[in-house]
């Protein structure tokens, strides 16, 4: 490796989320395209027919501003749409309506456990159609489905502030959670309503970056970045510079593979979209949107810990899953009259792994009451089970000591199993933690 340059994993993320507005970005077609019969949700506008004109979706603009506000961004008092030109069969107009030099939101940050990640910009654009490569009458053909064409899409770009694969994963998960809290996108990676791209290098001064696409799960984000950093390091160690290129993550091989070389920047010939007048936002308008923001994950965690005395890590788990949280809130309401406190409830909910999709908060609380009456809280008995667990799962013990705190669940699971579910899970957890830290 060359001297002088400081080598440090340098990662920026570009995340696209489809907004769950009723209609598409520039026309009245339904935006919910998942699983619909191809080309049944189209009109002259999203098909790019001659003469059709785009009219922006007001809700999409407001929602993008909401996302910006939730990410501490500055809202541009003046913003506009631009045309981004490139040819591809799924892009019916030959250009995508996007935003270039005046995005709706710029600046801001999202805090992760290893530091703040700066937000470069949040902008609004339209999604493309979808190509299907298939066989028709024995011939290989490519078909286009325009149901997705024109669906409102936000792009959130970070500064190159991310320095590890795990931080990238944490950022992505937190972003997903924030956007779900706002209720403006499903952020479903499997359905493609949240799409991630990572720009990865070992430093800004090295004159290259590698863009990795096809990261359709948080696990792949982590794996792909780790793989890519290792691959680039090997090249750098031979004194070479990795090639500037776009690579795709392959689930099959667990590697990234070259998609195309990007030595010169593509010329998209951006220019202001003449069909849409520029937008202006007053301070009052932005203040009105700010008022509609729900309580965001970070504030909620703090409130759960401070007001309801919920353990910090439990609060994080509850808040990370919107469904789990609303289950918790309902259960808490029902439990209000009884003797079960929020801290205990949170503990049970996190540890017992109830299937919240199949259980109602009412049933959960009554089960809890039943368990409580049958519950074994005899410390000496639980201690016997804990010792057994530690002996039976030496790997879990080792893992825990190496920092993989999740390993504890195998141990708790064992205790619950031998006690036929009657052991006080919270107590058991405490005792296991103590023994692990002691030994």
């Amino acid at each position: 490796m060359k001297s002088k340059v400081r080598y440090e994993p340098t990662i920026g993320l570009e995340i696209h989320c489809e907004l769950r507005t009723n209609s598409k970005m520039f026309c009245g077609c339904p935006a919910n395209h998942f699983g619909k019969t191809p080309n049944t949700q189209t009109c002259p506008v999203c098909l790019g027919l001659p003469g059709a004109l785009p009219v922006p979706n007001r809700k999409a603009v407001e929602w993008t501003i909401m996302v910006g506000l939730a990410l501490n961004s500055t809202i541009n008092p003046e913003s506009k749409f631009d045309r981004k030109h490139y040819f591809y069969p799924d892009l019916p107009k030959g250009y995508q309506i996007s935003q270039y030099d005046e995005p709706l939101c710029f600046g801001g940050f999202l805090a992760t456990s290893s530091g703040k990640v700066g937000i470069t910009r949040v902008h609004l654009e339209e999604d493309t159609g979808k190509l299907q490569h298939t066989q028709l009458d024995g011939q290989k053909v490519s078909l286009v489905d325009f149901n997705r064409s024109g669906v409102a899409l936000i792009e959130i770009v970070t500064d190159p502030d991310i320095h590890s694969a795990s931080q990238a994963k944490e950022y992505s998960q937190k972003l997903q959670n924030i956007i779900r809290f706002l209720g403006v996108s499903d952020c479903d990676m499997e359905k493609g309503s949240m799409r991630l791209e990572a720009n990865i290098s070992w430093g800004l001064g090295l004159g290259y970056k590698v863009e990795v696409k096809n990261l359709n799960s948080f696990r792949f984000v982590e794996k792909a970045i780790d793989y890519e950093l290792k691959r680039q390091k090997q090249i750098l160690e031979t004194g070479e510079t990795p090639r500037q290129e776009t690579r795709g993550w392959s689930e099959k091989t667990n590697t990234t593979m070259t998609q195309r070389y990007k030595e010169t920047a593509a010329d998209y010939r951006y220019f202001p979209e003449p069909d849409i007048p520029p937008m202006e936002f007053s301070k009052e308008f932005i203040a009105r949107i700010r008022k509609t923001l729900p309580e965001l994950p970070q504030t909620l965690v703090e409130r759960l810990v401070k007001q309801l005395k919920v353990r910090g890590d439990y609060a994080e788990i509850l808040v990370s899953d919107k469904n789990l949280l609303s289950f918790f809130e309902k259960a808490l309401e029902i439990a209000g009259k009884s003797q079960i406190g929020a801290d205990v409830l949170a503990g049970y909910l996190v540890n017992s792994k109830v299937d919240i999709a199949k259980t109602s908060p009412e049933i959960f609380i009554s089960l809890l009451h039943k368990q409580k009456s049958e519950k074994v809280s005899d410390i000496s008995l639980i201690d016997t089970w804990v010792k057994e667990a530690l002996e039976n799962f030496p790997d879990a013990v080792t893992d825990f000591k190496q920092g993989k705190t999740n390993a504890i669940s195998a141990l708790i699971g064992y205790v619950m199993k031998v006690s036929k579910g009657k052991a006080d899970a919270v107590l058991a957890r405490d005792m296991i933690e103590k023994s692990l830290k002691k030994s």
Binding site: G48, H85, F271
Partner: protein, 463 residues
């Protein structure tokens, strides 16, 4: 027969049952049959059976709609559901839209009958009508002359009695020039006054949707139908539409200040050629007529007139290159090899001027000059109600006169393009004849001044 019939008088006759829509339609079809082969005016004619049925139905009504039973022809840039719409280009030779442009729909709802689609310079590119991929339309007054473009067929169709009025688009003179060259009234409304939805875009920030008629009164009537906010066009203005036909009562022009810019006459131009001497005389006598009607003539200055032309020919190709990129032949239409020379020329110039590294020098600079052109007019309108100008520097050229020299044709747009850059309203009016060839003058007004233009235009033509 009916060649002098206006919409206003036809409506009157229809309502009095002295005329039927069926007679009107039959007469239009007769004129198309007799003259279209020679003049190359319409590219598609609606099925006769359909037309006769529509006219018959109109005849069953009491003609209470503003345009009941009136035959119109649309420029072939207007999307007409299930009627072939070519944009004058072989690329869309067999394209049939699934929907009506907003203006087409509004006119239909007002009772008008679409007879057919008019020839034009392909995609609207040109001011002579010679750039049509289907051959030039010939001037209604002299078959050796151009019709003027790009709404060439629209003008000649009205002049030859194939319809009572026609629609057109004006991006840099495309309504005013053919109207002037065929002794007709051409309206280029203010940008945003009339919806562009469904009309094949040439240069989106300049395209203005208007019409060609025999009289100012007809023009006012049509605008009262086509104008107004359209939820499908975000650039339409949310301003009330005046009842234009009712506001045409003025007889003289006392108190009206008409501005005359020396830059538009023969003074001090470097790039563009001067004006034809005989045309200059006609322009001068038109001006005298305004004076006699009581108008005050004042001098106004438009120093950015020549840069306006240069700016126009950077901005228009830039937007053209973008707007034509959807014609890839993947979903509809023929492939790109079908583009004609002028379209290719504009695509290349526009692609160049939008490319990174050239954008600042061309597109961005042109946008700045555009602002200066707007300011020119703002200042002028502080001194005058409207501005008087010629439409073209010469009478209709002979067919082929500019062939092989596209630049010389561009330069002849000097009087019309600045108006589009500033989004103003303009009305071109017949001014007389130079050696039996029709020529026109135009009145230019501020945004949304159509009402004033109609009033002054009507006095001038003494309708």
């Amino acid at each position: 027969m009916f060649s002098d019939l206006t919409i206003v008088s036809a409506i009157d006759l229809l309502r009095k049952r002295k005329l039927s829509s069926l007679e009107l339609i039959k007469n239009c079809l007769e004129n198309i049959r007799k003259k279209n082969a020679q003049y190359n005016v319409v590219l598609s004619v609606v099925d006769e059976e359909v037309l006769l049925k529509e006219a018959g139905e109109a005849d069953k009504t009491d003609f209470s709609l503003p345009l009941s039973g009136i035959p119109l022809i649309h420029k072939d840039l207007f999307s007409t559901a299930n009627i072939r719409t070519t944009a004058g280009s072989k690329v869309l030779n067999s394209y049939s839209p699934v929907y009506d442009a907003t203006v087409v729909r509004r006119l239909k709802e007002a009772g008008a009958i679409i007879v057919g689609k008019a020839n034009e310079d392909a995609w609207g590119h040109g001011s002579s009508g010679e750039n049509s991929d289907f051959g030039p339309t010939l001037n209604a007054y002299d078959k050796s002359r151009v019709a003027g473009g790009s709404s060439s067929g629209s003008a000649v169709a009205v002049a030859l009695g194939m319809c009572l009025a026609s629609t057109g688009t004006d991006t840099g003179g495309s309504i005013r020039v053919p109207a002037a060259f065929n002794n007709l009234v051409g309206l280029k409304p203010s940008y945003g006054r009339v919806s562009r939805y469904g009309i094949i875009a040439m240069a989106s920030s300049l395209d203005s949707i208007g019409h060609i008629t025999k009289t100012v009164a007809d023009s006012a009537l049509l605008l009262s139908v086509t104008a107004g906010k359209d939820p499908y066009d975000a650039t339409t203005l949310d301003k009330k539409v005046p009842n234009y036909p009712q506001l045409l009562k003025r007889k003289d022009l006392k108190g009206i200040k008409i501005g005359v810019p020396p830059e538009y006459l023969n003074v001090g131009r470097k790039v563009t050629p001067g004006m034809d001497k005989k045309l200059e005389q006609i322009t001068e006598s038109s001006l005298q007529k305004f004076k006699m009607l009581g108008a005050e003539i004042v001098e106004v200055h438009l120093p950015y007139t020549e840069p306006a032309l240069e700016t126009y020919y950077v901005l228009v190709p830039s937007e053209v290159s973008s707007n034509l990129s959807r014609y890839d032949g993947v979903r509809y239409g023929n492939d790109r090899t079908n583009f004609g020379d002028e379209a290719k020329r504009r695509i290349m110039i526009g692609t160049y001027s939008l490319s990174s590294g050239y954008y600042d020098a061309y597109y961005k600079t042109a946008q700045k000059v555009r602002t200066l052109v707007c300011k020119d007019f703002e200042k002028a309108f502080m001194q005058a109600d409207v501005i008087f100008a010629p439409v073209t520097p010469t009478p209709p050229p002979t067919i082929g006169e500019h062939t092989g020299n596209p630049l010389s044709l561009y330069l002849s747009d000097i009087y019309t393009v600045p108006i589009n850059l500033a989004g103003l309203a303009a009305l071109s009016l017949p001014a007389g004849f130079v050696d039996n060839l029709p020529v026109g003058i135009q009145l230019i007004g501020p945004q949304l001044s159509e009402r004033k233009l109609f009033q002054i235009g009507k006095s001038y033509l003494q309708e």
